[in-house]
C-alpha cells in the first residue's frame, strides 16, 4: 500500500462544465485504489455542466472510508483547470499549506462576455495565490492537449502533471493502468498521450522545496 504523507489527503479539482473534471477525478481515484488506498469522490454537476463551476473532491485515506465532501479549509492539493475557479476554490477550501497546479488559461463567464462583469487579469489572480501558498505550479495544459490531438484532453494533461509532481503517492504505472481500465480505442490513445505530455512537462521541475 502507498504511504500517505497526511491522512486523509484531500484534493480538489476545480474547473467549469465541459472540462472533464469528473473524468480526471475518476482516473486519480482508480489509481489510488490500485495502490490499496481508499478513495472517495464527491462530484458537483448537473446544471453545472452547462458552463457553471464544477468541483470534484477527491479524498484518499488508508483508514476508514470518508464522506464525499472536504470540509472548508482542509484541501491539501488543488488541481485547477481554470485560474478564476482555482482562486475561488483555494480561498474557500485550501489549507494554508495547499499546493496548487493550475492551467492559467481563462474560460470567460457569460456575464463577462456580455460586458457586465470584468475578468481580473490572470497574472493578478495568480499573484494573490502565489503570495500566500507554498507552491503554485503552472501547466500549459490547453496547449499540450492540442498537441496531444484533442483540446478536450486538457484534463488528462493536468492529471499527468499531478502524477509527475509527487504530490500524490501513486506511481505513474497506476495512473496508466487506471486509464486503460476507464477508456478504450482512440479516446484511450489521446488520453494516454495527453497524460504523458503533462507528465513530461512537469518532470523537469522539483516540488520538494
Amino acid at each position: 500500500m502507498s504511504a500517505l504523507r497526511k491522512d486523509p489527503l484531500n484534493l480538489i479539482i476545480a474547473g467549469v462544465g465541459g472540462q472533464g473534471n469528473i473524468t480526471a477525478s475518476q482516473v486519480i481515484a482508480q489509481a489510488a485504489l490500485l495502490e490499496g488506498l481508499l478513495p472517495t469522490i464527491g462530484e458537483t454537476y448537473g446544471v453545472s455542466q452547462r458552463g457553471g463551476s464544477v468541483m470534484s473532491h477527491v479524498r484518499l485515506t488508508a483508514g476508514t472510508a470518508l464522506g464525499p465532501l472536504i470540509p472548508k479549509g482542509e484541501a491539501d492539493i488543488l488541481l485547477g483547470f481554470e485560474p478564476l475557479e482555482s482562486l475561488q476554490v483555494a480561498v474557500e477550501f485550501g489549507r494554508p499549506d495547499i499546493r496548487v497546479l493550475c492551467n492559467p488559461r481563462p474560460i470567460y463567464p457569460i456575464g463577462v462576455l456580455a460586458g457586465d462583469d470584468h475578468y481580473p487579469a490572470v497574472e493578478k489572480i495568480l499573484e494573490v495565490l502565489r503570495r500566500h501558498i507554498p507552491y503554485l505550479g503552472m501547466v500549459a495544459a490547453t496547449e499540450l492537449a492540442q498537441q496531444a490531438g484533442d483540446i478536450r484532453s486538457m484534463n488528462l494533461v493536468m492529471v499527468g502533471a499531478l502524477a509527475a509532481s509527487g504530490l500524490l503517492p501513486m506511481k505513474r504505472g497506476s495512473y496508466e493502468e487506471a486509464l486503460s481500465s476507464l477508456f478504450q480505442g482512440p479516446v484511450l490513445e489521446v488520453n494516454r498521450s495527453a497524460f504523458e505530455k503533462g507528465f513530461l512537462a512537469f518532470s523537469a521541475r522539483d516540488l520538494s522545496n
Binding site: S25, Q26, A29, Q30, L33, L38, P39, T40, I41, G42, E43, T44, G46, V47, S48, R50, G51, G52, S53, A65, L66, G67, P68, L69, I70, P71, K72, G73, L84, E85, L87, Q88, A90, V91, E92, G94, R95, P96, I98, I107, Y108, P109, I110, G111, V112, L113, A114, G115, D117, H118, Y119, P120, K124, V128, L129, R131, H132, I133, T142, I151
Partner: protein
Amino acid sequence: MDPLLLDEPGRKVLLMGNEAIARGALEAGVHYCSAYPGSPSSEILGTLSRVAPHFGIYAEWSSNEKVALEGACGASFTGLRAMASMKQNGVSVAADLLTAMSLTGSPGGLVLVVCDDPGGISSTNEVDTRHYARLADVPLLEPATFQEAKDMVRWAFELSEELHLLCMVRSVTRISHARGVVELGRLQRIQRRARMGPGERYASLPPCPKHEELKEKLRKARALFERSPFNTFTGPQRPDLVVVTCGTGWWYATEALRILGLEDRVGVLKLGTTWPLPEAFILRHLEAAPSVLVIEEPDPFLESNLKAILVQETAHTEGRVPRFFGKASGTVQGPYGSGVGEMNPDIVLEAICRSLNREVPKARQALKKQIQSEIDFALPKREVAFCPGCPHRASYWVMKNALRLDGRDGLLIGDIGCYSLGFGRTGYSMSRTMHCMGSAIGFSSGMGKLERFGLTQPRIAVVGDSTFFHACLPGLVNARYNSSAFVCVVLDNSATAMTGFQPHPGTGRTALGEAAPKLSIESLCQAMGIPVQVMDPFQLQAATALLYRTLQTEELQVLVFRHKCALLQSREEGLPARRVFVDADRCIGEQCGCNRFCSSAFGCPALIWDAKGGHASIDEVVCSRCGLCADLCPGKAIRILEEEPA
C-alpha cells in the same frame, strides 16, 4: 472488466453511488427495472440498461415516473422483483399510484429508489421525499454510505417480499453522484416465471380494512427494524451529547467529531431505517443522553418523528425528554437558514459546537482569512449558460425577435429541461415561469382563456421533446378541448439532454439500445386536431417569420423547432471539419457601432473580446463550430472556412 458484472464476493471496486444502487438490485436478482431520467438518479437505470442483456433482465426508460412505477408494479403483481428509480420530483408525479399501491401490496419484491437533491444542485426544488414514505405508509431505508446504498437496495427486495409491500430507498446527490469503494456481494439470478395466479386480485377496496392491513404491515416492519444492523450506536456509555443522524449526515458528523476530537464524549446514533422508526432501539440509546442533536437534510423529518416518540414515551411515565438541538432550535443552520439546503461537514461541525456550548476552533479556514482582504478586485460570477452551438440559444433568439416584432408584450411560459436556462442571461431572461414538467402547457391553457378578463398578451409555451412525451399530452388535450389559444413551441433536440442524453419515445430507440417505433410529435398533434409545423431554429429569419405569423392566428398551434443537441452531435460525429473565426481585418471593433453585438447580445460562451487587438474573437477551446454567429455579425466579419476532409 465492468465491475457491475463481477461475481467475486469480497472484491472491492470503485462505484458511483448510483452504480452501487444498481449493483444492489442485481445482487437481489431484480427482473424488471424502469425509470424516467432526472439528476441525480439517472445513472441507476443507465447502468442497469447497460448490463441488462448480460443478466437477461428487462430495463426501460419510461415516458414518465408514474408510468415507470406502474410498470414495476405490473411486474411485481406477477411475482417478479421490480424496481423503479427517479428523482424527487418524480415521486410527486407517481404519488397517486404510491398511495394506492401501499394499500394493495404485491407479491414480487417492489422497490422504489428515490434520489433527492438537497440544496437543489441540479433541481428546481429540494423536496424531501421521506414525507412520501410516511404519507403512503411504506418502509423507508436511507443509506449513509456507498456500501449501504448497495446493501440496502438488496435488502429492500427481501423486506418488500416479507411485508408484501413496496419499500422505498432514499439516496441523495452526495451519495448518488459521488464515488467510493464498495465490497461486492454475490450476484443472484432468481428464476421466476411471471404469472398472476387464479384469484389473485389487487384493489385498495374497501379502503379502511386495507388501511388497517397496511398498519399491521408497518408494525411488522418496525419489529424488523428494531433488529436491523443498519441502525447502530457508537460512542461512550454516558455521552455529553448524542448525534442522531441518517444518510450523509452520518459522514459529516463522524468527520466533524474527529476534527473536534470529541469521539469519546459524543455518541452517534445512526439510523438506516427511518420510517417506521425503531422506537425501542432509539429510546434505549437516548436514555442516558442529556442532549440530542439531529442531523439530516433538508427537512427536520427525523427530528419531528423523534420528538413525537419521546413525548409519547414520557407522557405516561416518569421519563424525561432530553434537550433537543436541530432545525427547530436553529442549531443546525446552513447559509440559507434552518431546514434549507444540504448539510456539509462545516455546518455539522458548527452545530455540534453550538450544542455543546463550545466555540468553533479559530484555526479553521486560516488561508481564507489571510487572502480575502488582499483580493482587491471583483470576482465575476459564473452563470450557467446554453452550451456553445446549443439549438436552444437559436430558438430563444428567434422567440425574442418574434415577440418583439409582435409588439404585444408576449409571454414566454417556460418548463423543465436544458431550456429552463432560458430563465437566465443565455435565454435573454425571457422565461416567465418554471415549475414542473409539462406545466407550461397547463399554464398557457389557462391563460388562453383570459381574454374576457382583459389579457391581451400572446403566449408561447416552451417545452422540450422529452418533456412533451412526459407530461404535455394531457395539457394539450385540455387546451384543444377547451379551445384555449397559445403557441406551443417544442424545442426538439432529439434527447433528454440535461440528464445525459437518454433516449425517449421520439428517438426511435430504447434503454436496451433496441430499435423502437419513433413517436412523431407532429402526428400526435395532428391526431388532436392541432395545426403543427416544423422548423430548424438555425434558420433564424425563416423561424422568426413563422413564429410571428403563428402568433397572429390567435389559435392553438404547435411549432416544432428541431435541431440536434450540440453535445450529442459532437459525441456522435465529432466537431464539423471547418474553421469559424473572426476576420480581424473586417471586425473594426468599437468603431463598428454594433456595440460588440456578437459577444454582448447573442450570449455564446465562445464569442470573446480580444482587448489587445480591439476586436471580437472566437475561443476555439470553447467553440462548437456551429457557425450561427456568422449569420448575426452585422459587419460580416465572422467567417466559416470549410476544411477538406482528410
